[in-house]
C-alpha cells in the first residue's frame, strides 16, 4: 500500500516544529524583537501562493476574481517581505559591542 503524500508533508511539518523549537530557544533574549520581525518577513513566503494565483488568470481576462485576490496578496506579502527584512537589518545594525580602546 502506498503512503499518502500528505503524510510526507506532515512529517516535514512536525520535524520543522522541532527544529524551530530548538533554534528559537537558542536565540538570545536581547534579540527577541528582531526575531519577531524576521519571522514576520519569512512567513510572507506565502507570496509563493499569491504569485501562482495571480499568474493563473487566462490571457483574455487577467483580472478574474481568483487572480485579483492573488494580486492583493502579493502587495500585502511584499510589504511584509521588504519591510520585515529591512527593519530587521536596521535593528541589527544598532547592536554594537563595547569599544575596547576609548
Amino acid at each position: 500500500m502506498e503512503i499518502d503524500p500528505f503524510i510526507f508533508r506532515f512529517s516535514i511539518f512536525i520535524l520543522a516544529i522541532f527544529v524551530g523549537y530548538y533554534v528559537v530557544w537558542s536565540v538570545t533574549p536581547s534579540l527577541h524583537t528582531p526575531l519577531m520581525s524576521v519571522t514576520n518577513a519569512i512567513s510572507s513566503v506565502i507570496i509563493v501562493g499569491a504569485i501562482i494565483a495571480a499568474l493563473a488568470g487566462s490571457s483574455e481576462n487577467i483580472f478574474e476574481i481568483s487572480s485579483i485576490f492573488g494580486f492583493l496578496a502579493i502587495v500585502l506579502a511584499a510589504v511584509n517581505i521588504f519591510g520585515g527584512f529591512l527593519v530587521t537589518q536596521r535593528m541589527l545594525q544598532m547592536y554594537k559591542k563595547k569599544k575596547k580602546n576609548k
Binding site: G20, I46, I47, A56, A73, F82, G83, V87, M91, K98
Partner: protein, 465 residues
C-alpha cells in the same frame, strides 16, 4: 519552466536558509549574516515560483508591478519607523500576513485548477480542510493584530473590554467555525466558505479586546505564532515545503516567546488569553497611600547621589519608551562613566510592550549590548550596587511580588532593586503600575522618588553632574 521535483528541492533549500536565518539570531555577531540568509531564501522561493509557473504572459508584468508597489511601501515603512513604534509595526505586519493567507485561500477556493486541487465545486477534501484552516487562522490573525495594533498605537484604550458571558460567546463562535468547515466540506457550498471567514474575523476581534495593554507582549507573540500556523495551513494546501517549514518555524517561535513572556509575569497562558487583567483594580490601595511618607527629590539630589556612587544599575521600562528617554539616558551614563562609575543595565523579560523591546531601544541609543543584562544574570548584583536608577519601570521592581501572597503579582520574578544602597525612581506620579498594585518600593527608606517626565529628568540630571 522547471520540473516539479527540481522546484521542490529549491523550496527545501529556501526552507533551510530560513532556519539558518533564525539560527543566526543566537548572537548579535552572527545575526546580520542570518538576516542575509533569510533574504536569499526569499529570493530563491520567489524566483523558483516564477520559473515553475513558467507562463510569462501579461500577468507577469502586473505581478512585478504589484510586487514593487508593496516592496516600496514596506521599505518606506522600514526606514521611517521610529524604534519606539516597533510593537505597533510588528502587530501591523502580522495582520498583513494573516490577510495575505486569507486572500490566497480565497484564490485557491475560487480557482482550484491553478493549484492542482480539483475543480470549483469539487475540491479535494483534504485540500478543502487545509485551506479552511489556513483561512480561519489567517482571518483571526488579521483582525486580532488590528486590535493589538490599535491598542498599542493608543487609538484604542489599552484597558480590557469585557462583557458578561464573554467566554461562552467566544466558545460558541469558535465551535461554529468548525461546524461551518464541516458543512463546507460536505456541501462544497461557497456561502459556508464566506461565512466561515467572516466569523473568524469576528472571533479575532473578540479574542483580543479583553486583553490589557501590558499583556501585549504575550498577545504579540501569540499572533506571531498564529501567523505561522496560517502560513503552514496554506503550505499544506499548496503542497509547498518552503511554506510548511516556515510556518512551523514561525509557529513554534511565537509559541516559545509567548511562554517566555507568561513566565516573566508568572501568569498562565490561559489567564492572559481570557483577559480582563489590569482594569481599575487600584481602588483598594487608595487608603494606604496618603498615610505613608514618600521621600522625593529633584535632579540635583539625584545627580549628587549618582556622582558619589561607584556602581549604578539602570532599570528601564515602558515609561522610558513612552518618554523617548533612551538617548538622554545614554548621555547620563556616558557622563557617569567619565567619572569612573561602573554602569550596567538590567532588563526584565516583560519590560516594555514586546519581547526584547528595551534591548532594541538601548541599542538604538548606542548602548553596547554587553552592558545590558537579563534578569537572572544581574539580580544578584543589586546587593553590591550603590544606586539603582529605575526609569519607567514599575511592577517589575515591586518587592510585593516576593512577600505578599495576596498580591495579584505574587510569584512574578522581579528585579531586586530594593537591595541597592539607594534607589532612584523616575516616575510621573505615585499611581500604581499596570497590574493595579501599589509599589511598596516607593515608601522605602532608601528610595528617592523623582517626579518628572523621564526624558526631562534625565537631561536635568546630566546638567547637574
Amino acid at each position: 519552466m522547471i520540473s516539479a521535483n527540481l522546484s521542490a528541492i529549491f523550496y527545501l533549500v529556501s526552507g533551510i536558509l530560513f532556519i539558518l536565518a533564525l539560527r543566526g539570531l543566537s548572537s548579535p555577531e552572527t545575526s546580520r549574516q542570518g538576516n542575509l540568509f533569510g533574504i536569499l531564501g526569499m529570493i530563491i522561493a520567489i524566483t523558483v515560483t516564477f520559473l515553475t509557473v513558467g507562463n510569462f504572459s501579461t500577468s507577469t508584468i502586473y505581478v512585478f508591478i504589484f510586487l514593487l508597489v508593496g516592496g516600496a511601501i514596506g521599505a518606506f515603512i522600514a526606514f521611517k519607523i521610529p524604534m519606539t513604534a516597533m510593537p505597533e509595526l510588528v502587530a501591523g505586519f502580522h495582520s498583513l500576513v494573516g490577510l495575505a493567507a486569507v486572500f490566497v485561500a480565497i484564490s485557491a477556493f475560487k480557482n482550484p485548477e491553478a493549484f492542482n486541487l480539483g475543480f470549483p465545486g469539487d475540491i479535494k477534501l483534504a485540500s478543502l480542510i487545509e485551506m479552511s484552516i489556513g483561512a480561519a487562522v489567517g482571518a483571526i490573525t488579521f483582525s486580532g493584530s488590528i486590535i493589538a495594533f490599535l491598542k498599542l498605537r493608543g487609538i484604542m484604550s489599552g484597558s480590557p473590554i469585557t462583557f458578561p458571558g464573554q467566554h461562552i460567546v467566544n466558545l460558541l463562535i469558535g465551535i461554529s467555525i468548525f461546524v461551518l468547515i464541516y458543512f463546507l466540506c460536505s456541501s462544497q457550498s461557497e456561502s459556508f466558505f464566506w461565512s466561515m471567514i467572516a466569523i473568524s474575523f469576528l472571533i479575532g476581534v473578540l479574542l483580543i479586546i479583553p486583553i490589557g495593554g501590558a499583556d501585549m507582549p504575550v498577545v504579540i507573540s501569540m499572533l506571531n505564532s498564529y501567523s505561522g500556523w496560517a502560513a503552514a495551513g496554506i503550505g499544506f494546501t499548496l503542497e509547498n515545503t518552503a511554506l510548511i517549514i516556515t510556518g512551523a518555524l514561525v509557529g513554534s517561535s511565537g509559541a516559545i516567546l509567548s511562554y517566555i513572556m507568561c513566565k516573566g509575569m508568572n501568569r498562565s497562558f490561559f489567564s492572559v488569553i481570557l483577559g480582563g487583567f489590569g482594569g481599575d483594580a487600584s481602588v483598594s490601595n487608595d487608603k494606604k497611600k496618603d498615610q505613608k511618607p514618600v521621600k522625593s527629590g529633584n535632579a540635583e539630589d539625584a545627580a549628587f547621589l549618582l556622582k558619589n556612587a561607584s556602581s549604578v544599575i539602570i532599570v528601564p521600562g515602558y515609561g522610558m519608551a513612552v518618554a523617548q528617554a533612551q538617548h538622554a539616558l545614554r548621555e547620563m551614563v556616558d557622563t557617569l562613566k567619565k567619572n569612573d562609575i561602573k554602569v550596567s543595565y538590567a532588563v526584565h523579560p516583560v519590560a516594555g510592550r514586546m519581547p526584547g523591546h528595551m534591548n532594541v531601544l538601548l541599542a538604538e541609543a548606542n548602548v553596547p549590548y554587553d552592558e545590558v543584562f537579563e534578569l537572572d544574570d544581574i539580580n544578584n548584583d543589586f546587593a553590591n550596587t550603590d544606586v539603582a536608577f529605575v526609569i519607567g519601570a514599575n511592577d517589575v521592581t515591586n518587592p510585593v511580588a516576593k512577600t505578599d501572597p495576596q498580591s495579584p503579582i505574587f510569584g512574578m520574578p522581579v528585579l531586586d532593586v530594593e537591595k541597592c544602597k539607594s534607589v532612584l525612581f523616575v516616575k510621573r506620579s505615585l499611581s500604581p503600575g499596570y497590574a493595579g498594585v501599589d509599589n511598596e518600593l516607593f515608601y522605602r527608606e532608601n528610595t528617592m522618588m523623582l517626579f518628572a517626565d523621564a526624558k526631562k529628568m534625565t537631561e536635568d540630571i546630566v546638567k547637574n553632574i
